[in-house]
């Protein structure tokens, strides 16, 4: 075999120009997700404004500036805030009621095999059924009012949340389960301290999907039967303004719906996500 010498090198970074170099202000800015998204929003608004001006028919598409004007006018007159508050209070009632029922159903499903079968069967049956399709029936059962709306909201929230939570529970790592047993956790302690945090990514997805379903369902329900006991929500606001041909106001109402959606997604759910699943490295 060939006789070869052993080779040693001095390790040195003397001639290396970059070991650590701060990024430029633009690179940092572009890395910021909020900045990129805001920039996109500005561009979309500009496109809207230009198209509406080119079209020149405010009865079909009012300009962005006219919509914003109508938005502020409706806020100033108090009609829009009132409608928004009504809608959101309704939404929260339905959402929370849906979550409570979903929690009970999932607990039953986690505890017993027949409960799991029940949950699977029910979700398979009702998840594909649009909540709004139940509204006529709800009106017959609960009359024209909050009861009917809350009923369809519960239907909108329940299945998405229960399905995701249960799927999350099932995918919790068996090692964590054994760790929980090893340290002698009780049944409830096990659910609260292992299952729920372990399934949190799925639970969060369920909460988000449930929220979106509830929001859509509510606006649609309000469009259908609007006024109940003297006050209407955002859906009714939109419907009423359309009847009066105040199209800029209709757009302002729609914009409010969109803004709330963005707000909840980007502030509330994003914050929860950053403080939990992202910090824990369970989701990137």
């Amino acid at each position: 075999m060939l006789e070869r010498p052993e080779i040693f090198h001095e390790v040195s970074t003397a001639r290396l120009d970059v070991v650590e170099k701060p990024l430029s202000a633009w690179e940092k800015l572009y890395d910021n997700g909020a900045f990129r998204k805001s920039a996109l929003l500005v561009i979309l608004a500009a496109v809207w404004e230009l198209y509406a001006r080119w079209l020149g028919n405010p009865l079909l598409v009012p300009t962005f500036s006219a919509t914003v004007g109508a938005l502020f006018a409706s806020i100033a007159s108090g009609a829009l805030p009132q409608a928004a508050v009504y809608t959101i209070s309704m939404l929260l009632k339905g959402y929370i009621a849906g979550l409570v029922i979903a929690a009970l159903l999932t607990a039953f499903a986690t505890g017993t095999r027949i409960g799991a079968d029940l949950l699977e069967t029910l979700t398979a049956m009702f998840n594909p059924l649009p909540s709004i399709a139940l509204l006529p029936l709800a009106l017959v059962w609960f009359g024209l009012g909050a009861g009917s709306v809350i009923f369809v909201l519960i239907h909108a929230v329940l299945w998405a949340v229960a399905l995701n939570t249960f799927a999350g529970f099932r995918s919790v790592s068996p090692t964590w389960k054994m760790v929980g047993q090893n340290y002698g956790l009780s049944r409830t302690g096990y659910i609260a301290r292992i299952l729920i945090p372990g399934a949190f990514p799925s639970i969060l997805t369920g909460l988000k999907v449930g929220w979106a379903f509830a929001w859509r369902t509510l606006i649609a329900a309000e469009l259908v039967f609007g006024v109940s006991s003297g006050s209407g929500g955002l859906g009714w606001f939109i419907f009423e303004r359309k009847n009066q041909l105040l199209i800029a106001d209709v757009f302002a109402g729609l914009l409010t719906v969109v803004l709330f959606g963005l707000l909840v997604e980007n502030l509330i759910f994003k914050t929860i996500e950053n403080r939990t699943v992202r910090r824990w490295g369970m989701q990137v």
Partner: protein, 247 residues
């Protein structure tokens, strides 16, 4: 050494059911563990050694025979026998290093929170992770995660530590280092450990007594002192039929 064994496994047969078969994992396995033993169960894959450890942990009930800890029969999982698993995900990702240990101590009702935190800090220092006490597990390397798991198990100060190939998923260099650290910790606290592995060198390094098991189903081939054991002899006993007859 005391005369009464800490753990005695008496003629234990373990069976589990798969979709199509009833599998016998171990057949009439017996051995005894004394306090401060570093008892290694060594065997090829499929010899039922992990299943055996789970039975000692109380996760599986034997179909035949008994497992007794301090002469009381093992009925289920409990904090007197703490597991260190092979998997890195045995740490709860939603808790920091320290919280993982505090969780173990408080969930088991072993200590109230203030004392639990004190003890957690102590054991984190023991495994040299003080500066990572407030880190979340996903930011640690595999070796560090296993050190946290060991710290958590030791903080419980259990009767027995049950280690299920805790270093198997580590790279070779880290693995050797971890073995040394484990022995150092043992020198300091003289804990009792039941250690399962399929690596002969690891068994010789870590253990003071080695149980050799054959596979399908797992049966005891031999029980050796690691001082008198060498790799070639163990290999012969494990893998040659003659080994059993001539030993």
């Amino acid at each position: 050494m005391e005369t009464a064994p800490l753990l005695s496994v008496e003629g234990v047969t373990l069976r589990y059911r798969t979709k199509d078969y009833l599998v016998t994992a171990t057949y009439r396995v017996s051995f005894q563990l004394y306090r401060s033993d570093r008892f290694v169960v060594l065997g090829p894959s499929g010899c039922g050694k992990s299943t055996l450890l789970k039975a000692v942990g109380g996760y599986i009930q034997p179909t035949e025979g008994r497992i007794r800890l301090n002469s009381a029969e093992v009925m289920g999982p409990g904090p007197d026998r703490v597991f260190v698993f092979q998997e890195f995900d045995q740490l709860l990702p939603w808790k920091t290093v320290k919280e993982n240990i505090v969780f173990a101590l408080t969930a088991s009702g072993k200590l109230p929170r203030p004392q639990a935190e004190e003890r957690a800090t102590h054991y984190i220092a023991k495994v040299n992770l003080t500066e990572f006490a407030l880190s979340y597990p996903h930011t640690l390397s595999g070796g560090m995660k296993q050190r946290v798991a060991i710290a958590r198990a030791m903080a419980m100060e259990p009767q027995i530590l049950l280690m299920d190939e805790p270093f198997a998923a580590l790279d070779a260099l880290t693995r050797t280092k971890m073995q040394e650290e484990l022995l150092q910790l043992w020198d300091e606290t003289k804990f009792t450990v039941l250690f399962v592995t399929h690596s002969i060198p690891e068994a010789i390094r870590v253990g003071n007594r080695i149980l050799l098991m054959s596979s399908h189903p797992g049966q005891v081939r031999a029980e050796l002192n690691s001082s008198s054991a060498d790799a070639a002899r163990i290999h012969e006993i494990l893998f040659s039929e003659e080994g059993t007859r001539n030993r």
